[in-house]
C-alpha cells in the first residue's frame, strides 16, 4: 500500500509538466463545430509531433506504449495543466483506435491508426438505436452481404459530433436469426458514404453534439468488418480492456476543480439574507460532504488503477466509479443552484456557468449507461445477485 512514484516516474512527471507548459494552446477551444474540429486536429498534431500522441497505444502502432503509471502521471499533469480536453478526438483515441489495435487486421491497422494519431481524422460511434438504448444488444440496423460489400439499412442515435467526423465505428446486425448477442458485427464506416443522412439533436443544455444517423442501403466493404463477421459484440466488449482504470482520471480531476471552484464561489456569494453562502451551515455542510466525496473519487480511481495493474484487466468496480462520479457531479451542480439562489435563472453573467452545468449534468447519469443500469451491473456482476 503506497502512493510513491519511482525517481524515474518523478522525472517523467517533470518532463510532461514542462512540455505541456510550453506547448498547450493559449486560446480556448472555439464553441463552433467546424472551428472546434480544426482546433482539435491541430492540437493532436502538436501532441504527435511532441511525442505524446496515443499514450496508451502500443509503440508498434505509433503510440507511446506508456505503462499504467506513466499514463496516470500524464493524465494527472494534463488535467492540471488546463490543456484542452479530448472533445472530438475522444472516440478515435480511446475507443475506435484501441479496438482496431486489438481486433483489427494488419491492413485495417495500417490504414486507420496513423491518421488518428497524426490528427488527420475524427471518429464517431454508431452503437445505440432509438429502441436499443440500455438494451444495446437488441439493435436492429441490418446489414446484408452483397458480394464483397455489406448493405446497411437502419438508424443510429446519440452519435456525438457525427457532423464533424470522418469515420464511424458502427454496430450492425449481420445475422437476424442468431441470438441477439451473436448476430452483430463491428464495422468501419466512412461518414461521407452515400445513403447516409445526419440529423443533429438539440439537447436541453443548449448543445447539439448528439446526432441521429440514418442509413439507406449504405454500402460498406466487407474488409471493413473488424474481428470477423457476427463477432461484433465481443469486439465491442474488448474496448473495455483498454480502459486500464486511467479512464476515470480526467473526470476525477475535473470534478475536483469544480467542487473547489464552488467552495470559492460560496465564499464570495451573498444569500438573500445578506450572509455569505459559506456562512450558512446547511450550505457549508453540503459543500464539505461533496468535498469529501470528491476526495474519495481520487482514492477510488487510484485503487482501481492498482487493481487493474495487478489483475491485468478492468473489473466491475469501474461501474461503481461511473455511478459514484456521475451522481456526485449532479449533486454538486444542485448545491450550486442553492448557492447562486435566484441567479440560477440566468445562464449569462458571472454565475451563469452553474445553472448551465446543472442542465448539462442530466447527461451524466444517462450517457454511457444509466445509473439504473450501473446499479444492475454492480448488483449482478460484482455482488453476484441473480438477474
Amino acid at each position: 500500500m503506497n502512493l510513491d512514484f519511482t525517481p524515474q516516474q518523478l522525472q517523467f512527471r517533470e518532463q510532461v509538466r514542462d512540455w505541456l507548459q510550453a506547448h498547450k494552446p493559449s486560446e480556448p477551444r472555439p464553441d463552433d463545430g467546424a472551428e472546434g474540429r480544426a482546433f482539435d486536429l491541430a492540437w493532436q498534431k502538436t501532441l504527435y509531433t511532441g511525442g505524446w500522441a496515443g499514450i496508451n497505444w502500443p509503440k508498434a502502432y505509433g503510440g507511446q506504449g506508456f505503462d499504467t503509471f506513466q499514463q496516470l502521471i500524464f493524465l494527472m499533469e494534463y488535467a492540471k495543466s488546463g490543456a484542452p480536453g479530448d472533445h472530438y478526438r475522444f472516440n478515435g483515441l480511446n475507443l475506435a483506435g484501441p479496438t482496431i489495435i486489438a481486433c483489427g487486421d494488419e491492413e485495417q491497422r495500417k490504414t486507420h491508426l496513423p491518421p488518428i494519431l497524426k490528427g488527420d481524422v475524427i471518429w464517431c460511434q454508431g452503437f445505440s438505436e432509438p429502441s436499443a438504448g440500455s438494451d444495446l444488444a437488441s439493435l436492429k440496423t441490418r446489414a446484408i452481404v452483397d458480394g464483397d460489400e455489406l448493405i446497411v439499412t437502419g438508424s443510429k442515435i446519440w452519435t456525438s459530433w457525427a457532423r464533424f467526423a470522418d469515420w464511424q465505428q458502427l454496430l450492425v446486425r449481420t445475422d437476424a436469426d442468431a441470438p441477439k448477442h451473436a448476430g452483430i458485427s463491428w464495422v468501419i464506416n466512412r461518414m461521407d458514404n452515400p445513403g447516409m443522412e445526419i440529423r443533429p439533436i438539440h439537447d436541453m443544455a443548449g448543445g447539439s453534439d448528439l446526432h441521429e444517423v440514418f442509413y439507406d442501403e449504405v454500402r460498406i466493404p466487407l474488409k471493413n468488418i473488424v474481428g470477423g463477421i457476427n463477432n461484433g459484440w465481443r469486439v465491442s466488449m474488448a474496448q473495455l480492456s483498454f480502459e486500464r482504470g486511467t479512464a476515470f482520471m480526467p473526470s476525477q480531476i475535473e470534478t475536483q476543480k469544480t467542487i473547489e471552484e464552488l467552495i470559492e464561489l460560496a465564499r464570495n456569494t451573498r444569500l438573500d439574507d445578506g450572509r455569505l453562502a459559506i456562512d450558512d451551515d446547511h450550505i457549508a455542510f453540503q459543500l464539505a460532504k461533496l468535498r469529501a466525496e470528491t476526495r474519495s473519487l481520487l482514492a477510488m480511481t487510484l485503487l482501481g488503477i492498482s487493481r487493474n495493474e495487478r489483475s491485468g484487466m478492468p473489473g466491475p468496480e469501474g461501474s461503481m466509479l461511473k455511478l459514484f462520479q456521475s451522481e456526485l457531479y449532479k449533486r454538486i451542480t444542485t448545491v450550486a443552484l442553492d448557492i447562486v439562489g435566484a441567479d440560477r435563472a440566468r445562464l449569462s453573467g458571472l454565475t451563469g456557468r452553474w445553472p448551465q452545468a446543472f442542465l448539462g449534468s442530466f447527461a451524466n447519469t444517462l450517457g454511457g449507461g444509466t445509473s439504473e443500469v450501473m446499479r444492475n451491473i454492480i448488483g449482478e456482476r460484482y455482488l453476484g445477485l441473480p438477474k
Binding site: 438504448g133 437488441s138 451573498r270 449569462s348 442542465l359 442530466f362
Partner: protein
C-alpha cells in the same frame, strides 16, 4: 369538512384544462428560441374574456367572485401547461390595483390590455419596496410588458417597467421566458398596498405553489405514460422496480402537495393563524415536489428526455424559475420555523 373540489370547482378545472390543451399546446414551445411572445396581447385578452384574471376578486371589485381555492385550482392548470408567470402578474396586479381603489387600472388589467411582468430581488441586493422602490431586481418576461409587480412581506407595488433602468437581456435558464436585470433608486410606484391590507406576497406564494404542483403532476403523468409504452430488455420499463418506485415517489409528492394546496387555500382565505404556517410549508413542499418529479422524469425518459425533441426538459427549467418567485425554499423554511405551533 370536505377537502375535495366541489362540482363547480371541478368545472373550473375541466374548462381550463381543455381550453389550455387546445389553445396553448406545449409542443408550441419546442424550438421557439424565446417565447415571451407566446402569449400575445390578443391571447391575453382572450384569456381575460374567460374571467380568469379576476377569478378570485370579489364581485364588488368587478371580479368573478370566487375565492383563493378556485384561483389556486386555475393556477395548477396554468402550471401544468407551462403558461407564463406573467399571468400571475396580471391576477395579482389586478387585485392590487382594485384594493388600492384604482378601478380604471384594475379594469384594464382584468381585461388583459396590460401585461404585468414579475420582478424578484437580486440575491445579495438590499431592496426596499414601498411608495417608491430601490434595489437590484431580476425581471421575468420583460418583453412587451407594461407594468412590473414587486412584493415582499411588507407589501406589494405596481410600477411602469419603463421607470426602471433595465440592462440588456440575459439568457434565462428557461428558454421560453425572457429575463433581464434592473436597478431602481427611489423609483416612485403607481400604487402600493401594505401587507396588513392584503398579503399579496403570500398569496403569490400560494399561487406559484399551485403552478409548481402543475409541474409535478404533469411530469408524473408523462413519466407514467412513457413507462407504460417504452420497452427495453423485452419489457415495458414501467415493470422494472427502479422506474416503478421512482413513479411511486413522484405520486406521493403530488398527493402531499395537492392536499396542502387545498388546505392552505382555505386556511389562508379564512385568515386563520394557520394560513402563514401552511403557505410556507406549501411552498417548500411544492418546490421539492416539482424539482424532484421533473428531474426524475428526465431520468425515466432516458436519452430522449435530455433532448429538446421532447418537452420534458421545459418542466425542469420552469420548476427552477417558479422556485425563485415569492420566496425560495430556504426563505420559507426559515420563516416556517419561526411560526408558533398550529392545530
Amino acid at each position: 369538512m370536505d377537502l375535495l373540489p366541489t362540482q363547480e370547482q371541478q368545472q373550473i378545472i375541466d374548462t381550463a384544462a381543455s381550453f389550455l390543451a387546445n389553445e396553448f399546446p406545449i409542443n408550441q414551445l419546442l424550438g421557439a428560441p424565446n417565447s415571451d411572445t407566446r402569449i400575445s396581447r390578443e391571447h391575453l385578452q382572450k384569456i381575460a374574456q374567460l374571467g380568469w384574471l379576476g377569478i378570485g376578486l370579489p364581485e364588488e371589485l368587478q371580479g368573478v367572485g370566487y375565492g383563493l381555492s378556485e384561483e389556486a385550482l386555475l393556477f395548477v392548470e396554468l402550471g401544468r401547461n407551462l403558461m407564463p408567470p406573467s399571468l400571475l402578474g396580471s391576477v395579482l396586479g389586478g387585485r392590487l390595483a382594485g384594493l388600492c381603489g384604482e378601478h380604471e387600472r384594475m379594469r384594464s388589467l382584468l381585461d388583459g390590455d396590460i401585461k404585468v411582468a414579475l420582478a424578484i430581488s437580486h440575491p445579495g441586493s438590499e431592496t426596499k419596496i414601498g411608495k417608491s422602490i430601490s434595489g437590484e431586481f431580476l425581471i421575468y418576461e420583460p418583453h412587451e410588458a407594461d407594468l412590473l409587480l414587486v412584493a415582499d412581506e411588507g407589501g406589494a407595488a405596481l410600477l411602469p417597467l419603463k421607470s426602471m433602468q433595465t440592462t440588456e437581456d440575459d439568457r434565462c435558464i428557461d428558454e421560453t421566458l425572457g429575463v433581464s436585470s434592473a436597478i431602481a433608486k427611489n423609483v416612485p410606484v403607481l400604487c402600493y398596498l401594505p401587507a396588513e391590507n392584503d398579503h399579496l406576497f403570500l398569496r403569490g406564494t400560494i399561487l406559484v405553489s399551485a403552478m409548481l404542483l402543475g409541474i409535478a403532476e404533469a411530469t408524473l403523468a408523462r413519466s407514467v405514460d412513457y413507462a407504460k409504452q417504452r420497452e427495453q430488455f423485452g419489457k415495458v420499463i414501467g415493470s422494472f422496480q427502479a422506474i416503478k418506485h421512482y413513479c411511486a415517489e413522484m405520486a406521493v409528492r403530488c398527493e402531499s402537495v395537492r392536499s396542502m394546496l387545498y388546505h392552505t387555500s382555505i386556511t389562508f382565505q379564512a385568515q386563520s393563524p394557520a394560513g402563514v404556517f401552511d403557505a410556507c410549508s406549501l411552498k417548500a413542499l411544492a418546490i421539492e415536489a416539482a424539482q424532484y418529479n421533473a428531474n426524475t422524469a428526465i431520468q425515466i425518459h432516458g436519452g430522449m428526455g435530455f433532448t429538446r425533441e421532447m418537452d420534458i426538459h421545459l418542466f425542469v427549467k420552469r420548476a427552477q424559475v417558479l422556485g425563485t418567485l415569492f420566496g425560495g425554499e430556504r426563505y420559507h423554511l426559515r420563516r416556517l420555523l419561526c411560526e408558533p405551533v398550529v392545530d
